[in-house]
């Protein structure tokens, strides 16, 4: 998975996420925003595995989006504050 798959424009309810032709626009009537959830996984072999997801959050409930191995946009899970 690319280290930086998403390009996010704007903040809050006007945010738009784009990734190699996939465009995700997000707006909601409640407390909504779009941002990245990133992580560094320190692996046993000494390598560092970057993780990045696009998060669409509405009223505190998060939807995580990432690209699968075929490059398709994938909704990972919808859950309050679940980690990548």
């Amino acid at each position: 998975m690319p280290a930086e798959p998403f390009d996010i424009h704007g903040e809050g309810i006007s945010a738009v996420g784009a990734d190699a032709g996939v465009l995700v626009a997000f707006a909601g009537p409640g407390d909504a925003r779009m941002f990245r959830r990133r992580a560094v996984r320190m692996r046993p072999d000494g390598a560092s595995e970057p993780i990045e997801m696009l998060v669409a959050e509405l009223d505190g409930v998060r939807t995580y989006l990432r690209r699968d191995a075929c490059g398709r946009l994938q909704v990972v899970v919808t859950h309050l504050d679940l980690q990548p």
Partner: protein, 177 residues
Amino acid sequence: MAATIQIREKNGAGQTATDKTAGTIRFKKADDAGVDLLNPLVVPSSATEYSCQKWLRMYVAGGSYTQISNLRLYSDGASGYGSGVKLWAKTAAAYATPSIPSTANDPPQLSAVPMVDMFTYTAGAPLDMDDLAAGPFDASGVPKDIGNYLVLVMEVEIGTAQGVKPAETLTFAWDEI
């Protein structure tokens, strides 16, 4: 463009930093960042054996971002070290020179508070890494440290099999705008 985050180990009274983002952390009886066979933990014949503390902290090295928040740490939830080897964790707001905890306390303590089994922290129940050094963290003053210090101690109990133990996985996660 996103922030460039490093995981750094701090050593000595002056908290000399070593980038461990793409590296390993070797638990030993000395306060240094070397991944070597010097100052190894010894299987005890009585009581228990603690390593010197490992102090880690997240560090923004550069990049472009507006705000970082919601720092969390978790393991895979299952120790691969084998019987008799434990990994203890606790966060701290301020740095102190790494030391070896007293074996009078089991589990080991940090600032007179018992440390917690690292493998109880999982993706669903992670360790809060920005409650003591509170976020959100903006881009002013980069490069800079962010969030709590993470303090780790390895324990080796009586009867543990000798030898170099397999490494484990730690994951540091954060929100970034």
